[in-house]
């Protein structure tokens, strides 16, 4: 696995620590998250029991706008969208239908979408947000951590915002101040504050 800038697994159980290092790298590799996560610190103690994973994301993918994958050709009677990449075609159509109604959105072929002239300005259309990959990315990161954590640790608290994330899980009820007492020191080790 190409190294994250910071990757530490801590555990009082030496054997478990080693295995969890491998599990974490396997899962991140499988879910293709190595490029996304910059720093990751895992602490797991089965005796407490607690599992904490905290870290930073490298960069968040930006929102996808119409101009990223389509050319807009405004004409006198209609606006023609020339689709370059089909990946976001489905969410685009959904968005256009919602805004202008199905009767106004015509798709004569796979790579062309036609709107009547005047329903929307060119610039507004170009800047229209079609999808936000970071939404699914958040889910992927949390899913990965859920996958890494021991299965019995069902009680959990998770957070992902502004490029920082943490995931705390246990078998028992988590104390209310767990973030301040356990997660914050881990961020401090990485030279960050939550």
């Amino acid at each position: 696995m190409p190294p994250l800038t910071y990757f530490v697994v801590e555990s009082p159980d030496a054997v478990g620590r080693e295995v969890y290092e491998r599990i974490a790298s396997d899962v991140l590799q499988d879910l293709d998250l190595i490029k996304v996560i910059d720093r990751l610190h895992i602490y797991v103690d089965p005796k407490v029991p607690i599992f904490v994973a905290a870290g930073l994301l490298r960069h968040m993918p930006r929102e996808i706008r119409v101009s990223d994958f389509a050319n807009i050709n405004p004409g006198d009677a209609e606006i023609v969208l020339d689709i370059g990449d089909e990946t976001y075609l489905a969410p685009l159509l959904r968005e256009l239908w919602a805004r202008f109604g199905k009767e106004n959105v015509d798709q004569p072929d796979r790579f062309t979408v036609v709107l009547p002239a005047g329903v929307v300005g060119e610039e507004e259309l170009e800047r229209l947000v079609v999808a936000d990959p970071s939404e699914t990315l958040y889910k992927d990161v949390i899913y990965a951590l859920q996958y890494i954590a021991p299965e019995g640790f069902k009680v959990r608290r998770q957070y992902i915002k502004n490029g920082k994330f943490y995931y705390v899980a246990s078998e028992d009820t988590l104390p209310g101040d767990i973030v301040e007492t356990v997660v914050a020191p881990i961020f401090a080790k990485m030279g960050e504050t939550l």
Partner: protein, 313 residues
């Protein structure tokens, strides 16, 4: 009396029936037959003295005869759950490897086998595990968890148990109390396939441990032999109850060390199985208990020992 030894025959489909006939003629039994595309795998029992002869006949067919210590056994691979955390790796890899050694393996995914405090075993799981010859428990990575949950997961399980987990063998031996029959350390919850040489070596170690444990049971059986050799009873059932041939299971009649699992519904077929004549004057009901299996609605046959029946077929 000739000793039958478990072997695996691997070869092509072409003329494999000659091998099957030969095993039959020599007084051996084929307990499982797999045809995969061009390849055939026969799990069988053959007389020890005739292995050379089978090798000879198999030579022009490019067939291979290897010793397979686990032929004729049904093993439960117990996984703490069927979640992505525990499957497919570890449990499936273990099951697959044991199958290569000739065993018939069943995966038992526990409903609540995870979490050291909340883990438990329900009666259905316990009974199903008890219907096997041996159970392999694929446990996790932490010593503390294994120490706490294993006593719960083995509650009521009477068959021999081989425990696997990430801590080394000595640690497992220390934390498992009362002792289990076998231990293999260094196999915990992992997220990748067993493919490195050291990982495969661990699986080999597991096969050795399982066969050692079963050998101990076989030695006990030799002191008080079963009234009929299970593969022989299998041959009789397959021969006489023709519905068995219509089942699509890979092993419609599964051979165990001390019995058989017949994959026919219990209610309509149990009387027929019970009254089946093994030799003149001796029926299956005389020498075995025919009981409903907890696995679906199958029939489970437990063959009684000679000391109980006074019959040796």
């Amino acid at each position: 009396m000739t000793t039958l030894v478990p072997v695996t025959y691997k070869g092509g489909v072409y003329r494999h029936d000659e091998i099957a006939d030969l095993i039959d003629d020599l007084g051996g039994y084929i307990v499982q037959k797999h045809i995969m595309a061009q390849d055939v795998v026969l799990q069988s029992f053959v007389p020890r003295d005739d292995i050379g002869l089978i090798r000879e006949v198999a030579k022009p067919l490019a067939g291979e005869v290897t010793e397979a210590p686990l032929v004729g056994t049904e093993i439960a691979v117990v996984s703490p759950s069927l979640e992505i955390h525990h499957l497919p790796h570890t449990a499936c890899d273990i099951a697959e490897y044991l199958r290569r050694a000739g065993a018939k393996t069943n995966m038992v995914g526990l409903a609540r086998g995870f979490g050291k405090r909340i883990a438990n075993l329900n009666d259905e799981e316990r009974d199903i595990i008890n219907e096997h010859d041996l159970a392999v428990y694929a446990l996790g990575n932490f010593e503390e968890c294994i120490r706490q949950k294993f006593p719960v997961l083995r509650r009521g399980v009477r068959v021999p148990i081989v425990v696997t987990g990430a801590p080394d063998r000595e640690t497992l031996m220390r934390i498992v109390d009362p002792p289990a029959e076998g231990y293999v350390g260094g196999i915990g919850r992992i997220m990748h396939r067993f493919k490195r040489p050291e990982e495969l070596a661990k699986l080999d170690e597991l096969v050795d441990e399982v066969s050692r444990t079963l050998d101990a049971r076989r030695d006990d059986l030799a002191k008080d032999p079963l009234s009929v050799f299970p593969p022989r009873l299998m041959a009789i059932i397959e021969d006489r109850i023709h519905e068995v041939s219509m089942l699509t299971h890979p092993t419609p009649v599964t051979v165990q060390m001390e019995g058989l699992r017949v994959k026919l519904p219990y209610d309509p077929y149990a009387p027929a199985v019970r009254s089946l004549e093994v030799v003149e004057g001796v029926t299956v009901g005389d020498i075995a208990d025919v009981t409903p299996s907890r696995m679906r609605n199958y029939i489970l046959i437990r063959i009684k020992p000679f000391s109980e029946t006074g019959v040796l077929v």
